[in-house]
Amino acid sequence: MTDIAVGALRVPAVRGFRSEVIGRLRRDRLALAGLLIVLVIAVASAFAPLVAPDDPVEMRPAERYAPPSRQHLIGTDFFGRDILSRLLYGGRVTLLVGLGTVAINCAVGLPLGLLAGYLGGRVDTVIMRVADTLIVFPTLIFAMALMAIRGVGLLELIIALTFKGWTPLARLVRSEALAIREREFVQAARAIGASHAQIITRHILPNSLSAFVVYATLGITTPILAEAALSFLGLGIQPPAISWGQMISQERNYMQLAWWPVTFPGVIIALTVLGFNLLGDGLRDALDPRLK
C-alpha cells in the first residue's frame, strides 16, 4: 500500500473495496484450495461428455466389480459401469440440484428478509413466525411426510430441499437491513424524498450483498448433503439419472464384495462440500470480518 504524504502526516491511500477483498482472499491459502476443488469438480462435471473415459450407463456384466486399474481408474460397479465416468455425470445432477436450490432459497429469502428488516412491524412478525415454525421440521422427515402423501418425485424433492432453506438467508438479510435502516445515509435519502423501493434497491440491498454472497457459498452444502441423503434412501434422484448419493445407495448391499463403488462417491461428496466450506469461510473473512 502506497502512502500519500500530507504535510507531516502520512495517510494510507484508500484502496477500492474490491481489490482489498481480492487481496485478502489471495493470501488465504485454505480459501484458494477450496476454490480450486470447487472449480475442478464443476468444470470436470460440466464437460463430462468430453472428459469421461467411458459410457456412464452402458452395462457390461463381464466387467462387474473390476477393481481400480489403469483402464478403470476407480473400478467398475455391479453392472460393470466405469465409476469415474458415473461420478462425472452424477456431478452435473448434484451441482445442478445444489445451485437450483440455492437460487430458489435466495429468490425467496432475500426479498422476505429485506421486507421484514426494512418494514418491521406486523410484516416482520408474520415472516419471522413462519420461519420459526418451518425450522422445527427436520428436512428428511418433512420429505418423507410429503412423499408419503404425494409419492416420490422431483417436485417433491425440490419442495423438501427448499421449504425451510430460505430462512437462514432471510434472517441474515433481515438483521443487516435492520441495522442499515437506521444509518444516516438512509435517513438522508429519505429526507430528499427517496421511495421505499429506491432505498431498498440502492442502499439496503448493496449493503447486504456480503452476507448474501457468503450465504450462497456456504448454503450450497446443505442441499448437496440433503440430496445425497435422500437419494441414498431412494427418495431423491431416480435412475437412469445419476447422483452421487444414489450411486452409494445402489451398491450398499454388496459393499462386502467391493468397497470401491461405495467409497469413491462418498469421497467426492465430502470433497465438494469441503471445497465450498473452505471457499465460503474465506469469502466471509475477506468480505466482512465482522461476520465471523
Binding site: 428428511l140 408419503a148 452409494i248 467409497t263 465430502a270 462440500v273
Partner: protein
C-alpha cells in the same frame, strides 16, 4: 426466573399452532386424496362419498381443522393406514430407542469435541491443533450415511469387532452413535477452540496469572466457565440437527426408533403415521430450543429474565 420459564413456555404455543397448520395444509392441499388412498384408485364415486363422510371430509375446512387439532390435544393422532392401529402409541413405543441413540451420539460429540477443542486452543499451532482442525473440517463435510457405511465396512466386515446392525446391547450403540455424533463433535471442537482462544486473551486471565494462579487453575476456573457459554447455545442447535439425522442412521443400522418407523411407513405410503412422526419431531425440536434458551439464561446471570 419462574416467570421467564412460563413466558417461554407460552411462546411455544404459536409455533405449535403454526406446525399444526402446516401439517393440515399438507394433508389437505398437496394433491393426495385420503379417500382414494384408502379405497384404491378405481373405487366408485359412491364408495368415495361414503368414506369421505365417515372421515368427515365433507365438512367445511375450518371445522375439520379445529376437530383435528382438538383430537391432537387429546392424543388422537389418527390411525395407521397399514395396520389400523392408533398412531401415537406406536410412535411413543419406538421413541426410547431414538432418545437412546441421541444420548449415545451426544456422548461421542461432547466426549470428542470439547476436549480436543480445549487442547487445540491451549496448544495453538501444535501438531495436535493442526490434526484436530483437519478433523473438524472433515467432520462437517463428510455425509453421515456414508460415514456409517464406511464404519460398517471397516469395523463390522473387515475386522468384525462390532455388530453391523441391531439393538439391545451397548456394543450395538457404538457404530450408530459414532456415525451420528461425529459431525457434531467436529463443530463443537471448532467452536470450543475459537471461544477459548478469545477468552484466553481477556484481561481477567492476565489478572489471574498476575495474582499467581497456575495455568491449569486459571484455565479451568476462569477461562472454561466463560468460554462455555456460546458452546451451550451451539449444543442446543446441534441437538436439533442430530435429531434430523436419526432417520438415516436408524435406517442404516436397523435401529428400531421413530426415524426408521417414519422411513418404513413412508415406503408403504402410511401418511397418518409419517405425519404423526413429523409432528413429534417438530415438538421435540421446539422443546430442545426452549431448554437451550433457559439453560443459557440460567448459566449467564447477565441475561435478564424479564
Amino acid at each position: 426466573m419462574a416467570l421467564y420459564v412460563v413466558r417461554r413456555l407460552l411462546s411455544l404455543i404459536p409455533v405449535v399452532l403454526g406446525m399444526t397448520l402446516v401439517l393440515f395444509l399438507m394433508l389437505n392441499f398437496s394433491g393426495g386424496d385420503p379417500a382414494i388412498a384408502l379405497a384404491g384408485d378405481n373405487a366408485s364415486e359412491d364408495i368415495l362419498a361414503v368414506i369421505r363422510q365417515r372421515l368427515g371430509l365433507d365438512r367445511p375446512l375450518h371445522v375439520r381443522y379445529l376437530a383435528w387439532v382438538g383430537g391432537l390435544m387429546r392424543g388422537d393422532f389418527g390411525v395407521s393406514l397399514i395396520d389400523g392401529r392408533p398412531v401415537l402409541p406406536t410412535i411413543l413405543h419406538q421413541l426410547p430407542a431414538t432418545l437412546l441413540l441421541m444420548v449415545g451420539s451426544m456422548v461421542v460429540a461432547l466426549g470428542i469435541g470439547i476436549p480436543t477443542g480445549i487442547i487445540s486452543a491451549l496448544y495453538r499451532r501444535s501438531f495436535i491443533d493442526h490434526a484436530s482442525r483437519l478433523f473438524a473440517l472433515a467432520g462437517v463435510s463428510i455425509p453421515g450415511f456414508w460415514l456409517g457405511l464406511i464404519l460398517i465396512l471397516v469395523l463390522a466386515y473387515r475386522w468384525p469387532l462390532l455388530p453391523l446392525a441391531g439393538y439391545g446391547t451397548v456394543r450395538h450403540l457404538i457404530l450408530p452413535s459414532l456415525t451420528l455424533g461425529t459431525a457434531m463433535a467436529a463443530l463443537l471442537m471448532r467452536l470450543t477452540r475459537a471461544s477459548l482462544l478469545e477468552v484466553l486473551q481477556e484481561d481477567y486471565m492476565r489478572t489471574a496469572y498476575a495474582k499467581g494462579l497456575s495455568r491449569a487453575y486459571a484455565v479451568f476456573k476462569h477461562a472454561l466457565r466463560n468460554g462455555m457459554l456460546p458452546i451451550v447455545t451451539a449444543i442446543g442447535l446441534e441437538i436439533g440437527i442430530l435429531l434430523g439425522g436419526t432417520v438415516i442412521v436408524e435406517s442404516i443400522f436397523s435401529w428400531p426408533g421413530i426415524g426408521r418407523l417414519a422411513y418404513v411407513r413412508m415406503l408403504q405410503r402410511d401418511a397418518p403415521m409419517v405425519m404423526g412422526n413429523l409432528l413429534i419431531y417438530g415438538l421435540i425440536f421446539g422443546l430442545i430450543n426452549l431448554l437451550t434458551d433457559m439453560s443459557y439464561a440460567f448459566l449467564d446471570p447477565r441475561i435478564r429474565y424479564d
